[in-house]
């Protein structure tokens, strides 16, 4: 059990900044997910915790101990690799026991821990097999088991589900979440899949281009993304963005994009003021749009359906509104057909406003934002 703390941690490859001034505290027992697109520095950050990458600058602590110069084996961590990295010539039992044997754990103790891990992960019948005789999901479980038997202070997982098929991925996702509830050990989990991040993480750290963008619970990231990147990255399908201009109207300032007019949502009124002519980016999630007539708390827009993707319980609409592409998810009962002219309701309390230059959300707390 331990915390992991990054203090101004930087990783450079030559002139390339892979991780730029990372400040992050991972709490004891937390399931922290590092998420971001390829090359955002999430895997590099994980490998720095493991000791597989040297830290160019800054301080990394596990618990109270500074581990910048501690060898991987002495950091009391265990890592699960994307490619499983099983020892191909050893049986499952030997794979699990390898780390313990090297640490001179007594034989009886090794056997006990191996049996325990095998029990948790349902590997009992596979102990005598070699990795090549196992399926992908079984190999993944052996890799998890190899980490569990070590009873480390921190688990590090590098995209452990990305080599599994869709069905197995959902299943293993739940298995890892269950494992975390049972062991209550700190887990640092790297993924590029925001669905994995949202479903598994106690907290999520979103990274992009080496910079930490935001840290927070899944709800915080979904409801209050600090900037346009996080807003677009979290949520599926991605948030719609409309370029809007502030215009003075009879009922106060409004946001206008072509023929669409949205009153400035109450919580942004003070910040926007009367700055007529200023540009903003309005964000609205597809699932918040609905077909219908606006009430006084909402805005509406007319849209033309281009493509309709029927999903059974709901329909994914690709719309054109205000000359821009908009995606909406509506109830399948609506039976929209391509070419339909629709009136879409925009709930004002769900609208987010972003500054077009900095990309920051208006009024978002800047504490979690790294210097842009």
């Amino acid at each position: 059990m331990a915390t992991v703390t990054f203090e101004h941690v930087t990783k450079k490859y030559g002139d390339v900044l892979a991780v730029n001034d990372l400040n992050l505290e991972i709490r004891d027992g937390e399931f922290m997910v590092l998420v971001g697109p390829s090359g955002c520095g999430k895997t590099t950050s994980l490998r720095m915790i493991a000791g597989l990458e040297e830290i160019s600058d800054g301080t990394l602590r596990i618990g109270d101990r500074v581990v910048n110069d501690v060898a991987p084996k002495d950091r009391d961590i265990a890592m699960v690799f994307q490619s499983y990295a099983l020892y191909p010539h050893m049986t499952v039992r030997d794979n699990l026991a390898f780390g313990l044997k090297l640490r001179k754990v007594p034989k009886a103790d090794i056997e006990k821990r191996v049996q325990e891990a095998a029990g948790i992960l349902d590997l009992g019948r596979l102990l005598a097999r070699k990795p090549k005789e196992l399926s992908g999901g079984q190999r993944q479980r052996v890799a998890l088991g190899r980490a569990i038997v070590r009873e480390p202070a921190v688990f590090l997982m590098d995209e452990p589900l990305s080599n599994l098929d869709a069905k197995l991925r959902v299943q293993t996702r739940a298995e890892i979440a269950r494992l975390h509830q049972r062991l209550k050990t700190t887990i640092v989990y790297v993924t590029h899949d925001q669905v994995e991040a949202m479903t598994m993480g106690t907290r999520i750290a979103v990274m992009s281009e080496g910079l930490l963008q935001q840290v927070g619970t899944p709800q915080e990231l979904y409801d209050m993304p600090v900037n346009r990147f996080v807003a677009g990255f979290i949520g599926s399908p991605a948030m719609n963005f409309l370029d809007v201009t502030v215009t003075s109207g009879p009922d106060g300032p409004t946001l206008v994009a072509n023929d669409v007019t949205i009153p400035v949502p109450p919580r942004f009124r003070q910040m926007v003021g009367d700055a007529a002519g200023r540009h903003y980016i309005a964000g609205i999630r597809p699932e918040h749009l609905d077909i219908g007539q606006a009430t006084s708390d909402d805005a509406s827009m007319t849209a033309t359906a281009d493509v309709v993707e029927y999903l059974g319980n709901e329909e994914l609409l690709h719309l054109t509104a205000a000359g821009q592409d908009i995606v909406a998810i509506v109830d399948a009962e609506n039976r929209v057909t391509p070419g339909d002219k629709l009136s879409m309701v925009i709930p004002l309390d769900k609208v987010q406003l972003f500054d077009p230059e900095s990309g920051l959300q208006l009024g978002a707390q800047r504490t979690a934002v790294a210097a842009a």
Binding site: I77, F81, Q82, S83, A85, F98
Partner: protein
């Protein structure tokens, strides 16, 4: 070929593809069998002749022995093994070959691991230098090494050596040197292709480089090592030149098979009927080694070059 499309030109490939697939396969098999037969005929002739007497060999072709009256005997083998001393030479060959295979491959495996998975200054430069040694003809090394060996004397307990020339040790060391560049090259390529994560995982599990080498890299490289064992074994077993230079006439009691067989035939060309029997004696062991390791050999050649 012109670019003008004629009906016939288009029809032709269609017609070929209608030939049943089985026919093509039979053709390939027949071709392979014929090639193998042509390849094997001289060897079969030698084998048959090794069972015939000197007079028969001079009087008629080997194929006449395939028909009655058969006049075959084991006399040549008995003579070769007994009075000609080929039996002793066989043992000498084993004595030379086994260490000359084990030592270089063991050293090369250590080097290959270091070149692939340990970082130290000048690693690439050193590796390029080792690979560069592949182009040095071993003949250029004879005189310097002979001079070096001549200066080495060991007097320690029962060992009483005034010069290394003529000793088994001389040949072992020479073959180690000659075999290392290729062995390091092949094994490094294989070990370098092993997945990096396995070694990272081992480092986290607490494995030192020595443990990672002995417990992971070595067992995972078995196909490449087996291929190397065959190469090196065949090279040393069939080697005449190196043995002749470092053992040669200095110490005839240490002569391997190759030297003894070459000495069978007198300068006047006598005794040549014994050559067949001796050749098959010398062929037996490599055939056995190859047969027992051949599945690694076939896999190991590509396994070393491409990712295993």
């Amino acid at each position: 070929m012109t670019a003008v499309a004629r009906p016939g030109a288009i029809a032709a490939p269609v017609a070929t593809s209608r030939i049943p697939r089985g026919f093509g396969r039979i053709g390939v098999h027949a071709g392979v069998i014929i090639l193998m037969a042509i390849w094997l005929i001289p060897t079969i002739g030698l084998l048959v002749n090794s069972f015939r007497s000197e007079q028969d060999v001079s009087a008629s072709g080997w194929w006449s022995a395939l028909f009655p009256p058969w006049n075959l005997s084991l006399d040549n083998y008995a003579s070769v093994l007994g009075e000609q001393g080929i039996g002793d030479a066989f043992v000498n060959s084993l004595f030379i070959t086994i260490p000359s295979v084990i030592i270089p491959i063991l050293v090369a495996a250590f080097a290959a691991y270091a070149f692939s998975w340990m970082s130290f200054p000048g690693r690439n430069l050193l590796f390029v230098a080792v690979v560069g040694l592949l182009v040095v003809p071993l003949q250029t090394t004879f005189i310097p090494i002979l001079k070096l060996y001549a200066g080495i004397s060991i007097h320690f307990g029962p060992v009483n050596i005034d010069t290394l020339n003529g000793e088994f040790l001389a040949v072992w060391l020479a073959h180690t040197g000659y075999g290392l560049p290729f062995a390091i090259y092949l094994l490094r390529n294989f070990m370098g292709g092993l997945p990096k994560e396995v070694f990272e995982s081992a480092a986290i599990d607490g494995a030192s480089p020595v443990v990672a080498f002995l417990r992971l890299a070595l067992p995972m490289s078995v196909p490449a090592i087996a291929a190397l064992v065959i190469f090196q074994f065949l090279f040393v077993w069939n080697d005449l030149l190196v043995a002749l230079v470092y053992i040669g006439s200095t110490n005839a009691a240490n002569s391997p098979l190759t030297i003894s067989i070459a000495n069978l035939v007198t300068s006047l060309g006598g005794n040549w009927q014994l050559l067949g029997a001796a050749a098959f004696m010398s062929m037996a062991l490599p055939l056995l080694v190859f047969a027992s390791l051949q599945r690694y050999f076939v896999r190991g050649i590509t396994g070393g070059a491409v990712k295993g």
